[in-house]
Symmetry: C2
Subunit: 453 residues, 2 copies
């Protein structure tokens, strides 16, 4: 029964994978919330008291996919995470079948070691020496950024763990106006407060201006704050800009500040010989956020935090719960890494990345990242040749085009305003399935949908 | 190619599922870290520069499972999360195939609605009125507990979001000595500090003593702290004890404190008419942690935080990032729930629970939970009849038995010391596959392994 059921499920999933890669099928079949809630064609979201039979369960599975969004479709440009890597998928299926947890070697012997090996490899790509470096996989880049702040605070003031912020001066941290909002969110969570996040101006390309950083630091000091942390972004969320890491590292060294690099999006470029130069200086960071679930196309969630200083992560977070981290086990308990985490149970996010790395090799990841950047270059060239686009449209047309686009469902891209710029389209290239023809299609669709307005 | 590869993978996974349920197969095939790292029988964990072929990838998958721990084996008693529910598994496979993200209705229309519906159902089980209640699925119960503290702090002092802890008096919170360590960890992360966590004494059964709570509150006030939060545990990690919720709720009401109930483990009992009485008073909580990935046997990760007060979660956490939460979308944007989260990208943890609920009905979950408790009762009865066990062994024998047990790999159970008690075995019943014969087997094995010592 298990066998037949899972075999039928496989059929449904394979059909979905096939459609995902089929350009003639829609990216999504849009319905409003109330339509889905009312129950479309017998697809009811309500939960029963009595069991449904397996046949109905399979129908539910088919319908769930039908009304969803094909994030792996070559014409899905909407999010930084996209693509549907079949090996990564296999990795996730195996992970869920193993259904275990990262807290100890005892119950995750293989995955714990894989995490160590992959983290070490990523640290090498960052450029840290063999005796440096620690890290952990977290549920997303926002959590990685939170960890970095937590560690920086603890490194400077270890008494915060027991005494809380009450024992500390007013702390200040620095991040650019184009940086990801998770830095400010983490400051709120950690009890530092968003108003102690100094927002540093960027140039017109979205890169942090080092002189502005230095003025902010001085301003913070004058106002009685103690600066302790700078976040530099390597690949900003909207422009894909790279902050000048060497200049920022110089300033951090001068003022004795923790330097974090949020390379959630841009980290993938470290895999590419051609493009890794954009992250020059990252080896000077105290910590790095790098999300394989973005540019590298690994299924969600897969996000690493790398820390240069060994031992700090453990010291900062450990509480030595006796029911998990018994010191008198029969194996080397330094492999029980769970107390490094602010979680207890921790999902196995490592296996799919490890398996993809095996299947592609470092070379394969490099090629994949290069192709994303080629697509971006192609888009840029197309746009500069076309008269029917402005690089940032000076009108309110984007939300209207997007609404039509969602209803037709053939392509998906995000839009947003930014400071003095009104709504514009943000085109993401992380999907390995995307080809030049998809970029052409996108531009033609935007033109077509915009024409009638 | 995709089809053949995934079909072969399915074969490997089905074989593993078969072994998981086969009592004659081992729970684990133990190896030390260094053995696994050296590469057993050609299984290399190292990452290559050049791609491996698909055949090798399938071998890697088989080996990964081979050296892992079968957490769904009927004789796995080691962790609060266990079992291998085939429908839950199907749910995870579909989730990873859909590979999307919970931040907006735009890219997760179906899953966002499922989360709303399941949360509402859980709130009903807690006993909240229809107009009350909000919630979110988080990466684990520890994060749910962290959210509860964050919300309680914000509810009392909304200025903390911008100003940080610097603007607040010294806060104090209360939790029992048997409560989960994630409460203290969260206090460290949030900048409250672990020494401001007042640890309340328990009776000999592991239940918080209400009078002790009240004395702690008074002591905290006298020492200049401002009490704001009490964590009551419904199902402690080691004893499975239930704190007296009504008494605690009375004290919280009297002192105007946020009452959180950590029902990460015990929440499943709310599904059972026979046992839900153990959580009487939970309806008076301000927030509840409830992990379907524990007692209810849902695959990891699946953890809910429920909050009684509507709107608070959004207010506390929102930062209104323009690239995600555009207000001018074509649909009802109140369904873009992502800004309630302290994460940005958020894994879809809801589908497998929704699907299991469909397949079992509320009735099925009730029966499943009842069976876990019957197993526990059976163990208790067996022990009281046997002369070769003490309910808590007064010796150092547990770690030695455990080491032998791991090496033989036929059964798995955790041990630990607790206060004046030396190492004892903690037997967990959450695995739906466990039958009485497995309990018998466990006891006989412990006796057999212990005999030679
Ligand atoms: C009572 C209790 N609360 C919270 C947790 C933490 O849950 P998680 O491992 O999902 O973070 C546990 C885990 O064992 C627990 O027993
Ligand atoms: C630069 C940057 N950092 C961090 C994040 C957060 O990553 P996650 O969604 O995995 O939390 C994002 C997400 O878009 C990002 O663009």
């Amino acid at each position: 029964m298990t066998r037949n059921f899972l075999q039928e499920l496989l059929g449904i999933l394979l059909a979905y994978v096939g459609k995902t890669f089929d350009r003639s099928s829609k990216v999504l079949d849009f319905h409003h919330p109330h339509q889905l809630k009312e129950g479309l064609e017998g697809f009811s979201l309500e939960l029963p008291d009595q069991p449904e039979n397996l046949e109905q369960i399979l129908v539910d599975c088919r319908d769930t996919l039908k009304y969803g969004v094909k994030t792996g479709h070559p014409r899905f440009f909407n999010q930084l995470s996209s693509g549907l890597d079949v090996i990564g998928l296999a990795g996730e299926w195996l992970t869920s079948t193993a259904n275990t947890n990262m807290f100890t070697f005892e119950i995750s012997p293989v995955f714990i070691l894989m995490e160590e090996i992959v983290l070490r490899k990523m640290q090498e790509k960052v450029g840290w020496a063999a005796e440096e470096g620690d890290g952990i996989f977290c549920p997303g880049g926002s959590m990685s950024n939170l960890y970095s702040l937590l560690l920086a605070r603890y490194d400077r003031y270890p008494e915060v763990k027991t005494g809380g912020m009450a024992e500390l001066p007013r702390l200040a941290l620095f991040t650019s106006e184009h940086s990801h909002y998770s830095i400010r969110k983490a400051a709120a969570v950690l009890g530092i407060g968003t108003k102690n996040v100094f927002v540093v101006k960027c140039d017109e390309r979205g890169k942090m201006i080092p002189d502005e950083l230095e003025s902010c630091i001085i301003r913070a000091k004058t106002s009685g704050c103690v600066p302790f942390y700078v976040n530099a972004t390597a690949g900003t969320t909207v422009y894909g800009a790279f902050d000048p890491l060497h200049n920022i590292a110089d300033i951090c060294a001068k003022h004795n500040l923790w330097m974090h690099v949020d390379a959630a999006w841009g980290g993938g470029l470290l895999m590419s010989k051609r493009h890794r130069g954009k992250l020059q200086g990252i080896e000077r960071a105290s910590s790095v956020t790098w999300n394989p679930h973005k540019m590298m196309g690994v299924p969600l969630q897969c996000a690493a935090l790398l820390i240069r200083k060994k031992g700090l992560l453990q010291e900062c977070n450990q509480l030595k719960a006796e029911y998990l981290f018994q010191p008198d086990k029969q194996y080397d308990v330094s492999y029980d890494t769970g107390d490094k985490s602010i979680q207890c149970g921790r999902h196995v996010d490592i296996f799919k990345l490890w398996l993809m790395w095996k299947a592609k090799g470092s070379e394969g990841f490099s090629m994949q990242v290069n192709r994303c950047l080629e697509n971006a270059e192609y888009l840029f060239n197309c746009l500069s040749k076309r008269a029917d686009f402005e690089l940032v449209c000076k009108s309110k047309v984007a939300p209207k085009i997007k609404a039509k686009m969602m209803e037709e469902g053939m392509v998906m891209i995000g839009y947003q305003p930014l400071k003095d710029k009104v709504n514009f389209f943000r085109c993401v290239f992380s999907n390995p399935a995307t080809r030049k023809e998809d970029v052409d299609f996108l531009l033609d669709e935007i033109t077509r949908l915009g024409c009638g307005l």
